[in-house]
C-alpha cells in the first residue's frame, strides 16, 4: 500500500507539473487579453512534433532548446498578425480565431507527420531506471521531466515577482488599460507574453512527447483539461494554476488507484433486483470515473466559487 501511495504521488506530481507548464502560459494570456486561447494545446502538440523532428536531425538536447523557441516564434506571429487584427472586432472574433487555429494546426500536423504516432524516443542518456522505490523502478526521464518543470516554475515566479518586466505584466493582468496610459507598449507586452506562453507549451510538448504519445490528436486529448486547470486555479493567478495543476494531477492518478464503489461501501445490491442501470451505477468504481472527475470539479467550482481558488476578479 505504501508503495502504491509513493508511486501514485510521484506520477500525480509529474502529470500535475506538466499541466502547469501548459496552464501557466494559458492563464496569463487569458487574464491579459481576456481570450481563452483554444489553440494553446496545439502549441503543445507543435512542440512535441518540432522536438521529434529536430531530435532526428540534430539530437535531443539542441531540440530541447530550439523547438520551444520555434513554437514561441509561431505564437508571436499568431498574436501579431492574427489576434491583434481581430482584437478590434471584440472577444468573440478572437475566440473564433484561436478555435479555428486549433483545427488548422491539427490538420497541418497530420498532413506533415501522418495520423499515426511517430517514433519519438526517450534519449539514450536518460533511458535507465533512476530510482527504485520499494520494488518499482522510476525512469530517469520522468525525473528529468519533473526537474525541468520545477526549474521553469521557479524561473517564471522570479521573473514575474522580482523583475521590472514581471511588474508590467502583473499590472497589465489587472489593469491593462492603465498600463497603456502610463506609456508602456501594451501591444508588445501582449506579443511577448503570448510568445513566452506558447514557448512554455512547446517545451511541455518536447519533454512530454517521448513519455506520452506523439500523434496528431494529442492536443485534443489534453486541451479540455487545461481549461479546468485555469478556471479551477483562478484567472491570472500563477500560484492558483500551480495548485490546481498539482491537485488535478494527483486526483486523476489517485482516482485510478482506488477501487471503491457504492457496492463496496454499502454492500452489493440484492441479486433478485436483476440487472438494471442502477446496478451499473452501484458497481462502477472510482477508477472508472477517474477521467470525468476534473470536469465534475470544474462544474462545482463554477457554481460555488466562480473566481476560482486564488482568483481575484470574476471576468
Amino acid at each position: 500500500m505504501a508503495e502504491l501511495i509513493v508511486i501514485s504521488t510521484l506520477n500525480g506530481v509529474l502529470f500535475g507539473m506538466l499541466l502547469f507548464l501548459l496552464s501557466s502560459g494559458l492563464t496569463v494570456i487569458f487574464s491579459m487579453m481576456g481570450v481563452l486561447n483554444f489553440a494553446h494545446a496545439s502549441f503543445y502538440m507543435l512542440g512535441a512534433f518540432f522536438g521529434f523532428q529536430l531530435t532526428r536531425w540534430i539530437g535531443f538536447w539542441p531540440a530541447l532548446v530550439i523547438a520551444p523557441l520555434l513554437v514561441g516564434v509561431v505564437g508571436m506571429g499568431v498574436e501579431r498578425y492574427g489576434l491583434r487584427n481581430t482584437h478590434k472586432h471584440g472577444h468573440v472574433a478572437e475566440l473564433l480565431l484561436t478555435f479555428g487555429l486549433a483545427f488548422a494546426i491539427e490538420e497541418i500536423v497530420s498532413m506533415i507527420w501522418g495520423k499515426s504516432p511517430v517514433d519519438y524516443r526517450v534519449p539514450a542518456a536518460l533511458d535507465f531506471p533512476a530510482i527504485t522505490v520499494f520494488s518499482t523502478n522510476y525512469p530517469a526521464y520522468k525525473i528529468f521531466m519533473l526537474v525541468v518543470s520545477v526549474v521553469i516554475f521557479i524561473a517564471l515566479l522570479v521573473t514575474l515577482k522580482r523583475t521590472r518586466v514581471g511588474l508590467i505584466v502583473q499590472a497589465a493582468l489587472t489593469h491593462p488599460s492603465m498600463v497603456g496610459h502610463l506609456g508602456h507598449n501594451v501591444g508588445r507586452v501582449f506579443m511577448l507574453v503570448f510568445g513566452v506562453g506558447s514557448a512554455l507549451a512547446g517545451l511541455a510538448g518536447v519533454i512530454a512527447g517521448p513519455s506520452l504519445v506523439t500523434q496528431s490528436d494529442m492536443a485534443a486529448l489534453l486541451g479540455p483539461i487545461l481549461f479546468v486547470v485555469i478556471v479551477f486555479g483562478g484567472l491570472g493567478s500563477l500560484p492558483g494554476a500551480f495548485i490546481a495543476s498539482l491537485l488535478i494531477g494527483l486526483i486523476q492518478t489517485f482516482a485510478v488507484a482506488l477501487n471503491g464503489s457504492l457496492a463496496s461501501v454499502f454492500g452489493p445490491l440484492d441479486p433478485s433486483l436483476g440487472a438494471s442501470p442502477l446496478t451499473d451505477i452501484w458497481n462502477v468504481t472510482i477508477a472508472q470515473i477517474a477521467p470525468i472527475l476534473p470536469y465534475l470539479l470544474l462544474v462545482l467550482v463554477l457554481i460555488f466559487r466562480p473566481m476560482g481558488l486564488l482568483g481575484t476578479r470574476e471576468s
Binding site: 508503495e3 502504491l4 508511486i7 523502478n137 520522468k142 504519445v213 496528431s216 485510478v256 477508477a287 472508472q288
Partner: protein, 412 residues
C-alpha cells in the same frame, strides 16, 4: 493526333486485360485511419490492399478487379454509420471492418436494416476482428460474417492453456471499457473460476478506450496487488503503452493477451525483457512452419514493411473469391448463400468452416509466446526489428474450438 489517342486508348484497354473489362468490385474498408486506433487501422488497410493486389494479379474475382476503398471511422460507431452510408451511396456492396466491437455492432445493425429496406441493394459486412460474442449470438445477422474467433472462443482456449500452468496463482484483469473488454473480463472470471478455482483474481480494471496516454498509475496498482499474471484484451496503443509503462516500472509478470503482436507491442515487450512470458492467442503466427504461409509472409514484409498481423484477413479475401466462384456471381445475396457452411483450407494450414447457424468461422487456434529466435532456419521472422519473434506453444484444432451459439438466424 486524334487517331493516336484512339489507338492509345485501345492499347490500354487490351493491356488492362480481363480484370478491367468488367465493373470493379469495391470493398469499403471502414476502420480508424486517425486518432488512437490509427496505427492498427493503417496496418489493416495495407493488408487488404496487398490482398486485393494479390487477387488482381490472378485476374481478380470472376474477372472483376478488386478495389479497397478506405473510409476513416475514427473508431467511432456514429462516424462508422456515416461512412457505411457513404459506401452504400457509392454503390459498394461489401464492407469490411475489424477494430472495435462497438463499431462492429453498429455496422451489423446497419446492414441488417439496410438490406431489409432496400431489397436488390444488399450489403454484406465482412468482419475480420470485432470479436464481441454477442455479434454471432443474440445480435446475430444473416448479412454479417466473422472470420476472427470470437472472444469466448479465444478465452476458452487461453484458459485451457492456463489450467496447465501451476505457477499462476494471482491474476489481474485489465481491459478497455467497452463491450469487448467487458466480455473478456466476465469470461475470464467465469472460465478461470471453473477451470482453476484456486486462482485468485486480485484485480479487475476497466480503463477508457484509446484515451490513456500514461499507464503508470495502472501499473502501480497491478504491482501493489501482488499479481503474478495479467490477462488483457487490450489492443493498439492501449496494449503498447500498457507494456511500455510496465517496462519503465520494471513490472515482472506473465501476460496472457489477445493482441500483444499489434503495432508497438513487440517493441514494448522486448523493452520489458520478459522473454517467453508474454503469450498471445491468434489464428496464425509468422513462424508457423507452413511453407505457403511463410512464403507469403516474406513477400508481404518486403512489400509493406509490416508483418502479417491478420491471417484472418487473408482467409476472408480468399474465401470471398472462392464463394463468388462457387456462386458464379458477385451478387451479395448469392455470395452470402455460398459462404454459409463453406469449408476452407486456412492460411496457416488446417481446415476451417463458416458455421451456418451464426456465420462464425471456426479455425485452428494457436497460442504463442514472444522471445529470442534460436533456429533462424525454422523461425526466420522477428517482429519490429527486435530480434524476437513468436514461437508456437500450443495449437488447438478446429473441432476443439467449437462453442454453442444462441443465434436465431433470420434468413431472407
Amino acid at each position: 493526333m486524334h487517331r493516336l489517342i484512339v489507338a492509345a486508348a485501345a492499347a490500354l484497354t487490351v493491356l488492362g486485360g480481363a480484370a478491367s473489362a468488367q465493373e470493379t468490385l469495391k470493398i469499403g474498408y471502414i476502420d480508424p485511419l486517425s486518432g488512437g486506433g490509427a496505427s492498427v487501422g493503417e496496418g489493416g488497410l495495407k493488408t487488404f490492399q496487398y490482398l486485393a493486389d494479390e487477387l488482381n494479379a490472378k485476374g481478380g474475382i470472376l474477372g472483376h478487379k478488386v478495389e479497397i476503398v478506405p473510409l476513416d471511422n475514427k473508431t467511432n460507431p456514429q462516424e462508422s454509420l456515416v461512412q457505411a452510408q457513404k459506401a452504400v451511396d457509392a454503390g459498394i456492396h461489401y464492407i469490411t471492418q475489424g477494430n472495435g466491437s462497438s463499431v462492429g455492432a453498429a455496422l451489423e445493425d446497419f446492414v441488417t436494416k439496410n438490406n431489409s429496406r432496400n431489397p436488390g441493394k444488399e450489403v454484406l459486412y465482412f468482419n475480420y476482428a470485432a470479436v464481441d460474442p454477442s455479434m454471432t449470438n443474440e445480435k446475430c445477422s444473416y448479412w454479417h460474417f466473422r472470420w476472427d474467433a470470437n472472444s469466448d472462443i479465444k478465452m476458452a482456449a487461453l484458459t485451457n492453456y492456463m489450467k496447465g500452468q501451476p505457477s499462476i496463482k494471482k491474476v489481474y484483469l485489465i481491459n478497455m471499457d467497452y463491450s469487448f473488454g467487458q466480455s473478456v473480463r466476465s469470461e475470464a472470471r467465469k472460465m478461470l473460476g471453473e477451470k482453476r478455482p484456486d486462482i485468485q483474481i486480485v484485480g479487475d480494471e476497466l480503463h477508457p478506450m484509446l484515451k490513456v496516454t500514461d499507464f503508470s498509475p495502472y501499473i502501480a496498482k497491478i504491482k501493489a496487488s501482488g499479481a503474478d499474471t495479467v490477462v488483457t484484451g487490450n489492443w493498439g496503443q492501449d496494449f503498447a503503452l500498457l507494456l511500455k509503462a510496465a517496462a519503465d516500472a520494471g513490472l515482472k509478470v506473465n501476460w496472457y493477451t489477445y493482441y500483444a503482436g499489434g503495432a508497438g507491442g513487440p517493441t514494448a515487450i522486448k523493452q520489458t525483457g520478459l522473454e517467453n512470458q508474454v503469450f498471445q492467442i491468434s489464428e496464425g503466427v509468422p513462424n508457423s512452419g507452413n511453407k505457403a504461409a511463410m512464403e507469403f509472409e516474406k513477400d508481404f514484409r518486403a512489400k509493406t514493411g509490416i508483418s502479417v498481423w491478420y491471417p484472418r484477413a487473408v482467409n476472408e479475401m480468399r474465401m470471398f473469391k472462392a464463394a463468388a466462384e462457387k456462386a458464379n456471381s458477385i451478387d451479395p445475396v448469392k455470395v452470402a448463400a455460398a459462404l454459409e457452411g463453406m469449408k476452407f483450407e486456412v492460411f496457416d494450414g488446417g481446415e476451417g468452416f463458416m458455421r451456418k447457424d451464426d456465420h462464425q468461422f471456426f479455425q485452428p487456434i494457436i497460442i504463442s509466446s514472444f522471445g529470442s529466435l534460436t533456429d533462424k532456419a525454422k523461425e526466420p521472422f522477428d517482429e519490429e526489428n527486435t530480434g524476437w519473434g513468436w514461437h508456437i506453444v500450443s495449437k488447438i484444432d478446429t473441432d476443439q474450438t467449437v462453442l454453442p451459439t444462441t443465434c436465431n438466424m433470420k434468413r431472407p
